[in-house]
């Protein structure tokens, strides 16, 4: 950090403590000036681009999220213009079969999440609940606890033997099964594609694939 002899005062307000204030602010001014010199250097907007890399804040490298991103949307592969009719048919069949299996899993995960949500709402009404979603505040700060954890409110008519923790674990397990099913489908589809088609797909994901219409309208 660089220092500066930058002065700082409020000239428009009564000023009984000016001398003290100037002294008190001196170290701050140095810091500000220093930040201005250093902080601005790497900001693309400040017109000093070398070294600056604006972008979206990176999410932590979650293996499951990374896996999700690595699996392409098979519907886009089916729509690749370079696919032969037989290839397309084969991939469509694999996709349909997979969708049948996924439909069951999705129904179950939706049901599980819905039950978790109801439990959380019910718990919220009673002042304390383990939510299906990550808590927005640390447990110690949530306060107003009406029910200790061992007295979690149960939902009448639901599968009362399952705790929110059980349901949450079950939802995670289902999510893993869905991910595995998608991975499995991709593992079956990938060998059916030529190198060129795989390259087309990679280009599509990078936004570089420009399909050329060959059929004229007239």
């Amino acid at each position: 950090m660089k220092s500066s002899n930058h002065k700082f005062s409020w000239r428009k307000v009564p000023n009984p403590f000016l001398a003290f204030s100037l002294l008190a602010c001196a170290s701050f001014i140095c810091a500000v000036a220093c930040q201005a010199a250093g902080g601005g250097k790497n900001n693309i907007f400040a017109g000093q681009e070398p070294g600056s890399q604006p972008g979206f804040k990176k999410a932590p490298d979650n293996p499951a999220a990374l896996q999700d991103r690595a699996i392409p949307d098979i519907r886009l592969i089916i729509a690749l213009p370079s696919l032969e009719a037989a290839q397309r048919k084969q991939i469509q069949n694999l996709y349909k079969e997979s969708q049948v299996r996924l439909a069951g899993l999705r129904t179950e995960i939706n049901t599980t999440r819905s039950r978790l949500q109801k439990l959380a709402q019910k718990g919220g009404q009673n002042g304390n609940a383990e939510s299906s979603e990550p808590a927005t505040e640390p447990a110690a700060e949530r306060g107003n606890s009406q029910n200790p954890p061992d007295q979690f409110p149960m939902v009448v008519g639901e599968q009362m033997e399952q705790s929110p923790q059980d349901l949450s674990a079950h939802a995670k397990e289902l999510q893993t099964q869905i991910r595995n099913e998608r991975q499995n489908l991709w593992d079956q589809v990938r060998p059916l594609l030529t190198d060129q088609q795989l390259e087309d797909l990679a280009k599509m994901r990078r936004g570089e694939f420009m399909p050329q219409t060959t059929e004229a309208a007239k």
Partner: protein, 455 residues
């Protein structure tokens, strides 16, 4: 009919010696960085317009490099939204992005039905490629766009069993406007578009499904196909007026003076539908530079978010910004219906105002402290060498709202900065922590002023 006052008189009656660059850059783009403000304010207004309407002359290669480093996956909707937001924030060609946003709202197509983010991306590229050229070319390319074909059901538009959806919307919403065509025109035009389909991500002309019979559209008869209908529509004086009116409403003011629209429609006709020519005339029009337009439109969520990011020089973006934009009522690639976003006062509701204020809180409070590259307000005032409360308030008011606030509000802000936490006037801020808090508070207060919601 609104009367045009001098552009040097703000909506609060404040006289200004500045040119209208900040206003132009809010409308033709998404606001300015402090450096851009200095650059354009030093220029003659006409030269500013000339630069802005020729984005192709501006080197934007840095943006491509930055985008490549982001590893966006264009087959994922969320990445696509971030890609566009990123472009809006960091482009050197703001009109290119703003015009793409205009056409996205005009030819409103939603991924909710298309269900193919890559097709939405390609449509967006079409808006960029043809958006500033001849309207006929743009309309033709949109008519053949796979996402549009899916969106308006032209896939089902077949010989002997026409689907009139696209023909209706091209007349009502894309080219002419209600009252400038009849039901028969729709039926005949629908026949011309039969067989215009999409197959494997491409436009596909299915000759077997095309109706080759003679048609009469808007008084003209022939063995028309879609190309012919597009040409007939785009050359209509009604199209000139309709497109000019939409451009004025988007870029200038919600309720334009009909004379301004007529003026621009004449430019459209003379320039054979060239959109760049219409935009140039629009930005140079006295109504655009007067109080009719100045601070007379409510910022769209995109304008609010991108403008703030640029002005406060936030270069590390929060991934939630696209979600925040959606909560404010503008989900990119997902307009609410075929009419697009209503805009204007519809941007404001109790829910969306809350989200706007939450955004102001997030961007000015500690959330961004740990993010490398963020220029905090205290850094900004230090860069300017500002040493007193009035100077700082003036600086941020000028930067964020062109200084266009009543004197009483300005004084309140000065009092805020010149007081301690308890509200007691102080001669100087005793420590850097309090100064930082005060300046963030100042920016936050300005961002929640009614004027900040205005473009």
């Amino acid at each position: 009919m609104a009367k045009t006052k001098s552009h040097e008189t703000s909506s609060h009656g404040k006289k200004s010696n500045k040119n209208m660059a900040p206003h132009l850059l809010r409308r033709a783009g998404f606001g300015t960085t402090p450096d851009e403000l200095d650059y354009y304010e030093a220029k003659n207004y006409d030269k500013c317009v000339d630069e802005i309407i020729h984005p192709e002359r501006i080197d934007n290669s840095k943006l491509d490099e930055l985008i490549a480093a982001q590893n966006f996956d264009f087959t994922r909707l969320e990445d696509l939204k971030r890609w566009w937001l990123f472009r809006m924030c960091f482009t050197k060609r703001p009109l290119e992005e703003k015009l793409a946003l205009f056409w996205h709202g005009h030819f409103a197509t939603s991924n909710r039905k298309v269900n193919n983010p890559y097709a939405m991306y390609l449509q967006n590229l079409t808006f960029r490629k043809h958006g500033m050229g001849n309207f006929n070319d743009l309309l033709l390319n949109v008519s053949k766009d796979p996402a549009m074909i899916v969106w308006l059901d032209n896939q089902q538009n077949r010989k002997g069993n026409p689907n009139e959806n696209y023909a209706r919307e091209i007349m009502e919403l894309f080219a002419l406007g209600i009252g400038n065509y009849g039901e028969d025109d729709i039926k005949q035009a629908a026949k011309a578009f039969t067989g215009w389909q999409t197959k494997n991500s491409l436009f596909y002309f299915n000759a077997k499904q095309h109706d080759d019979s003679p048609k009469t559209v808007l008084g003209q008869s022939g063995n028309f196909n879609g190309d012919d209908v597009v040409q007939i529509l785009s050359k209509q004086p009604a199209a000139a007026k309709f497109i000019s009116g939409k451009l004025v409403a988007f870029f200038a003011c919600d309720q334009p003076d009909p004379a301004m629209v007529d003026n621009l429609a004449a430019v459209y006709m003379k320039a054979d539908g060239n959109i760049r020519a219409v935009l140039k005339a629009l930005f140079l029009h006295p109504d655009f530079r007067g109080t009719t337009a100045y601070h007379a439109k409510i910022k769209s969520p995109a304008e609010l978010i991108v403008g703030t990011i640029k002005t406060l020089q936030v270069q590390n973006l929060d991934g939630d910004l696209t979600t925040s934009m959606s909560r404010m009522g503008q989900s990119l690639f997902e307009p609410p219906n075929v009419k697009g976003w209503d805009g204007g006062r519809a941007w404001i509701s109790t829910n969306t105002m809350m989200e706007r204020f939450n955004f102001a809180t997030r961007i000015t409070q500690q959330k961004f402290d740990a993010m490398e590259g963020y220029i905090s307000p205290s850094e900004m005032v230090a860069n300017q060498g500002l040493t007193n409360a009035r100077g700082m308030v003036d600086y941020f008011l000028n930067l964020l709202v062109d200084g266009d606030v009543p004197e009483s509000a300005k004084q309140d802000l000065i009092n805020y900065v010149s007081s301690d936490i308890a509200g007691k006037p102080i001669a100087a801020i005793p420590d850097d922590k309090l100064l930082d808090a005060k300046l963030r508070g100042l920016v936050h207060l300005i961002m929640t002023l009614p004027t900040y919601q205005l473009a």
